[in-house]
């Protein structure tokens, strides 16, 4: 195998495949990436046996072939080279990296030992969505996802396509966020489906696909593939059924508080200095219905109280919340105006934005 590639292209490719470089004592080849040069395409592949990433880039292929190269050694060479064109050549089980005035020789492993990347057999049905839209939505809902695997069925983002809408849901059982992409926001030739994508995969998807306008999503019974023109990530999906989250979303509220997002978020950060281990802050409505009072106290530290002007409709309330959870809820919304809807101090509350009706954030208060 022999090819010539531009350093910038090479760096982009390496940045992409780095996410799936594995650490596996049993299988050291996972520290390598696979470089394939066939049919005019140069392809970089890496996997940690949970996910696999593939990246295609341009370059000049002189001899077709494939090679696996230890990622960290190769990356530090390329990063420190300052020439434009880099030649990669495999000969006698050695990889030569050369530029105008540099020559490196790396011991390589047999490409046949590199894991086979699973494929999705039925590529005729897929879902297309704008990359930025998908990434925004995933960033929003993934804040609520549970990171530990104690309950595998909620350690990922729930995707649901039904009735012409695409729903994304994340929860850790203390709070839940749902964002709906309406019919005009995506196109799909798939039958209605629902599945759970591991949170680690979601995090990578959010970081990948820079510059790609549109993404295609393919799935089969146990894996999901996100694909742009030159980048792919394939992952397992979580085997389990997502809880019936719709039943958790309250149908109505006794109190509705309209607030400025920035101000609410600042007040939480300010007051939280005095909150305890459970991140508890007290939220209550002011006597005249004109402000919301956020407070926290600690017997050793002291006390802080913040009053935010607010439009309050309905009954007054006094409830305790985890301030981090409230803050996460605010991050979903782009708009300045948000609404905090409460029933009572032991029932789920909701954060919405009147101008963004497609998103919902539900949070459970802390027991008083």
């Amino acid at each position: 195998m022999k090819l010539i590639i531009l350093r910038t292209n090479l760096l982009e490719a390496l940045a992409s495949v780095e996410r799936a470089i594995g650490e596996n004592l049993n299988l050291p080849i996972l520290k390598n990436f696979l470089l394939r040069a066939f049919g005019g395409k140069i392809e970089f592949v890496s996997t940690n046996l949970e996910i696999a990433v593939e990246y295609q880039t341009a370059g000049k292929i002189i001899d077709e072939g494939d090679v696996t190269i230890p990622f960290s050694v190769f990356y530090s060479i390329v990063r420190n080279l300052n020439t434009e064109r880099i030649t990669i050549e495999r000969e006698n089980n050695k990889v030569m990296v050369t530029s105008d005035n540099y020559e490196g020789v790396i011991e390589d492993d047999d490409p046949k030992e590199f894991p086979i990347i699973p494929r999705i057999t039925d590529m005729s049905r897929f879902l297309k969505i704008k990359t930025e839209r998908l990434k925004d939505v995933l960033r929003g809902v993934s804040l609520s996802v549970q990171y530990s695997t104690i309950r595998p069925e909620i350690s990922g983002v729930y995707f649901n396509q039904s009735n012409g809408a695409l729903r994304f849901v994340g929860t850790d059982s203390f709070r839940l966020s749902e964002i709906v992409v309406e019919e005009s926001g995506f196109s799909s030739t798939m039958d209605d489906f629902s599945l759970i994508v591991p949170i680690r995969t979601i995090q990578e998807v959010v970081r990948m696909f820079n510059g790609a306008e549109e993404l295609s999503i393919f799935t089969d019974s146990n894996q999901i593939l996100f694909e742009s023109e030159n980048e792919k990530i394939i992952s397992r999906i979580i085997d389990g059924s997502f809880p019936d989250y719709q039943s958790v979303i309250p149908k109505g509220f006794k109190t509705n508080v309209v607030l400025d997002k920035e101000e609410f978020s600042n007040s939480l950060k300010l007051v939280s200095t005095f909150s305890g281990k459970a991140n508890d802050v007290n939220v209550r409505t002011g006597e005249n219905g004109k402000f919301l009072e956020i407070s926290a106290s600690d017997s050793a530290l002291g006390k802080s109280v913040y009053k935010i002007p607010a439009k309050i409709k309905g009954d007054g309330f006094n409830a305790i919340f985890n301030w981090r959870y409230l803050l996460d809820g605010l991050k979903i919304y782009q708009n300045d105006e948000i609404s905090l809807n409460v029933n009572s101090s032991d029932k789920p509350a909701e954060i919405t934005s009147p101008k963004e009706p497609n998103a919902i954030y539900i949070v459970m208060p802390i027991k008083g």
């Binding site: 004592l25 699973p118 695997t149 459970m364």
Partner: protein, 455 residues
Amino acid sequence: MEEQEIWKNVLGDIELQISKPNFLTWLKNSQMVGLNRKDGVVMVGLPNNFAKEWVKSRYHKLILTSIRNLDGSIKNVDYVVVSSVHQNPENKKISSQQQNNTPQSSLIDVKVDSKTNLNPKYTFANYIVGSSNELATAASQAIVKSIGKKYNPLFIYGGVGLGKTHLLQATGNEIMNRYKNAVSVLYISSEKFINDVVWALRNRRTDDMKKKYRDVDVLIIDDIQFIGGKAATEQEFFYTFNTLYENNKQIIISSDRPPTAIPTLEERLRSRFEGGMIADITYPDYEMRLAILKTKAQNQSIFIEDAILEQIASKVQRNIRELEGVFNKVVFYEQYKNQKIDGKKLDEIIGEAIQITPKNITAGDIVRIVAEFFEVPVTDMTTKSRKQEIVEPRQIAMFLMRDILKLSFPHIGEKLGKRDHTTAIHACEKISQEITQNPAFNQKIMLIRERLYKM
């Protein structure tokens, strides 16, 4: 050779042929998930797609050769992804600790009360009462009013999926609602009870276990028939029972058959069960089935045509769980797939939901199970004997062969002692008539069927 045994041997063989890292990465977490003897195909479960692709392309030949050395009848090996093979117990510990520390209440899984084990979804309000469960319900409600005084113990029996658990849990929930924390209730399945006994014996902590069970005011044990034949558990249960009973604590027990019909139950326990109140739950009649469906539809605010509900009620007769299964499927089709359900579609759904799987049942199984049920020697079934106690089982066996296996009458006659086909015809007619006229008899047939399907 046992399935898992075969696979263990195959792994042992392959471990010698490939490198250790490869073995650990790709095959360590594998298991055999199925063996189709008819086609000679073995299904191997692997933890992820990577392992599946790799094993399929690199080790298939090795595996096939190795497996064929052990069992020549196997022709092929197929691979599937079984994600539950992969578990990480360490993570679990940490996060469960974290979760216990926070007073944060949770949105989703409120469901089961950890102290009483009761699931709040079961209440009297959503329990439909009809002639088939009237007595049991009345007795349960009487207990709620005067705990430990009226019917003690209360023994409820009835077939699978008829609502025993619902009634038991509803009683527990009602007691909790009425007396709040003044009364302690414990609901437990007999399986859990057995596990507790085993645990206590192994860890020499029988005192803890005694405290747990003997300090309650109401003890509810579901599916008691499973403790039959487990001597240590029976003994422990006997003592618990006596302690509670002497202190006028309420005991509620359920089983799939009356105490007299649990063959392995000790006499002293049986007589105690019979000392209280015994109530049965039988198969719901048509009106009750319809009422259940209508309440379900109403509770979920779903509109389904009466004609459809009536058809479901008339076609699904055996068991309320199946009734709900069919109902849910119909709702699914109407709501999510926007398909209009007609008679033909409904039959299809019913067929899917009620999977009677006679594929593994043979005529020999029927004869054996029926003989076991009536406690007559299997050999008598095929003799010329016309004693009353053997004639009825024989007729029932004929009926079941016809009904489940669709065997021809001459064949049935042949199987049961070379009898004439008219004998078989007569038997089938007689039994089907008896089933419609005599509910107790019908229940007997249902129990036999259950045993057959459970084989």
